[in-house]
Amino acid sequence: MTTSIKPSGGNAPGRTSSNLDRRNFFKVSSIIGGGIMFSAYIDTLGAATAWAAAPAGEFTANAFVKIFPDGTVQIVAKNPEIGQGVKNMLPMIIADELDVEWKSVKVEQGLFDMRVFQNQGAGGSTATPSNWMPMRRVGAAARAMLVTAAANSWKVPESECSTSAGVVSHTSGKKIKYGDLCALAASVPAPDLATVKLKDPKDFKIIGTSQKGVDNHLVVTGKPLYGIDMTLPGMLYACFHKCPVFGGKVVSANVDEIKAMPGIKHAFVVDGLTPLQLTSLVSGVAIVGDSWWQVQTARKKLNVTWDEGPTATQSSVGFAAKSLELSKQPSQRSLRKDGDFDGALKSAAKTVEAAYFYPFISHAPLEPQNTTAHFKDGKLEIWSPTQQPQSGSRQVAAALGIPETDLTIHISRSGGGFGRRLSNDYMIEAAYIATKVPVPVKLLWTREDDIQHDFYRPAGWHYFSGGVDAAGKLIAWRDHFVSFGEGNAFASSAGLNGGEFPAGFIPNLALDASVMPLGVPTGAMRAPGSNGIAFAIQGFIDELAHAAGKDPVQFRLDLLANQAPATPPAAPPPGATPGGGGRGGPQRYDAARATGVVKAVAERSGWGKTKLPKGTGMGVAFHFSHAGYFAEVVQATVSKDGAVKVDKVWVVGDIGSQIINPIHAENQTQGGALDGIAAALGQEITIDKGRVVQTNFNNFPLLRMKQSCPVDVSFLKTDNPPTGLGEPSLPPVIPALCSAIFAATGKRVRTLPISKMDLSWS
């Protein structure tokens, strides 16, 4: 299992020195074995929230660096590793400012502790922007104390000392290793984190260099690293059988018959919470036994009578019909209105109308949902692959009526996340089952459970109309967005932000919205909101470029040159996804950065310079999300019988001044682009009779090797703080692919997935 270490320095009897101002908390302690531990309080939530949340006297360090006499440096990586490389990235930042060699660093996964870390989530591409400066300061403060210790012992000014590779050197040639300074540094006054001297970025030695995954060797040798690999002595295995209609309740079940089957130890009906909470514990039947296969075998004999509830009549066909009906009515509300759309459309030289649709899709991380839990003496210990342990802890406590102080959550490495594991439903199920069983229990879902009980990327419809003037300038834009929700609130991740591009770039613009009720749970999926919105918006921009007779790159550059003067940003409506920048991003759309990546990707891809054969085409798109500006070009070939082959993708991203770990950045960016292609090509979740039709990878296809293609990745470094990379490379690849298909065939893809469309040509 992933190592969990208690982040407290409880084994530290020695001297300590600390700066006790909460905002600048930094502390050093000696630890057993002659080592030294630096701990700091990092505010990754935003000052006001974190300080208000931490009661006086309970304020604790949340960043930890240990140096041992042999020169080993141990750094706690606090966030869950789900494949995004954060277990490298955060410690690399500390190690560079500390000025040690990366090979001397041992990275340890931190135990979840809300009281200590405040924020241990993996989501929203937030780890980089929220930790970049704080982690640098921690490393720099520790380094400063080691320098002070060396200077004191040599009785020389600190200004004559320098550091490199875990060694302090004096101009006289004297040298001392960090490991030999542990005792001395423990009594040095702690510096002020706010003013501690940071490296000039040109002196970075680890940041900006490629450092391979710290767990790679364990991965390639098949070591038990993941949640699913957890084993405890005496552990039993569980499945949890829920109603195929979301929120349906068990009326009766043949649990006595199930209990008599081989290997089955327990079988019981779970009522679920009242009122119904789809994000927490819902009704179902739990089966617990000696092996997971026996539990699954028994499950096949389960006979359940369900009360399927009010959403059992919902269907994708019904949603589509309702959407069409809503599109023909006045919109329920306006998200934004600039200028005079109707007047401008009337005066336009050319107008275009088009309806775009993207379906529900499932996250399908490859490791099925699972959690191991042990309830003993009123305390609950949990091992879970989760992206959001803090909300898991809160939800488990609320659902079970157990105080959070009686919960311990170990963060397991996750076999993929993509936003699925922001929801902790499986953790709550396992926790509940564990309280009914006197031994540790591992709950494991099947793939079918996962595909049919997800928090789906919501479907959405965009009914566009737009117009260009005689010069080909985009002068009128309306998007009637039809989505899911109630009243003024969108369903989770089903929103549109009034600031979403091209708002602010077209003088006469109307963003309108109508919603219909939904009984299907939805949630954040890699680049939430943006992963559908970019397809629709960039697709329609491409149509308008074509109507204007303009080159698709030039049309976009012209549009970006047309930004209206800054106005204060409007507050997003409830449920709106963080489009228009995402969390941690600047409020004002930076047209210069968007222009930069569009120009760069055009150049890099040889846009307009290659004569392509019929059936092959290039498409371009750009999108701003999660604080990153990305432009992408796709070249695709469509065979005469309509089969699509993606030939190559070019990606140019602007995520600020620094790519922290280039080898991971490239992998993550390629993954984002190919993930988008997989979704666009063939993925769709459909609802019929209130339940999901798809079951497994045979009817919810993931990308395979032969569909993969080269993805050329480059970054523009701009003078902006570094931001995250888990998400923003995904959205633009979908419209770029669809526009490439248009260039190849003359057929416009307005409905995803692409596989539903006849693309044959002659």
Partner: protein
């Protein structure tokens, strides 16, 4: 039923229901957790092992068919994690979440055994395992790199 077979060179006997998939025999009865569960229907290949040298989706192979077979899992791919593929995977930093990679390595090692210098087309046809993180570009490159390492006899 009781069934005896060899796993990674060692004789093993388990007492399981005869329809128990090899995947669960390995994971839950022999505590070999390197072989992963992804779909249970033979689609994803995360559970790929070698049965008598043939790459096999262990979720589709029943215990009743295992008598006397020789199985190799990721734990037995090399004694010390230095199979050319494992070295290439580390050198090119292939994994993201890493969950599928054991299955990818087992599929790739069967490919290299049969075709020591595979072409891209060989890789396309043989490597049908799913990587949800879509690390295919690096998997492909690492297979070529491993072929080179193996060819150099290092």
């Amino acid at each position: 039923m009781t069934v005896t077979f060899k796993v990674n060179g060692k004789s093993s006997t388990v007492d399981v229901a005869d329809d128990t998939p090899l995947l669960w025999v390995l994971r839950d009865h022999l505590d070999l957790k390197g072989t992963k569960f992804g779909c249970g229907v033979g689609q994803c290949g995360a559970c790929t092992v070698h049965v008598n040298g043939t790459p096999t989706r262990s979720c589709q192979r029943r215990a009743s068919t295992l008598s006397g077979v020789e199985i190799t899992t990721i734990e037995g791919l090399s004694p010390d994690g230095t199979h050319p593929l494992q070295r290439a995977w580390e050198e090119l930093d292939v994994p993201q979440c890493g969950y599928c990679q054991a299955g990818q390595l087992m599929a790739a090692s069967a490919l290299l055994k049969k075709t020591p210098k595979p072409t891209d087309d060989d890789i396309d046809q043989t490597m049908t395992n799913i990587c949800r993180c879509t690390t295919y570009i690096r998997i492909r490159a690492a297979i070529h790199r491993a072929a080179q390492l193996a060819g150099a006899g290092s």
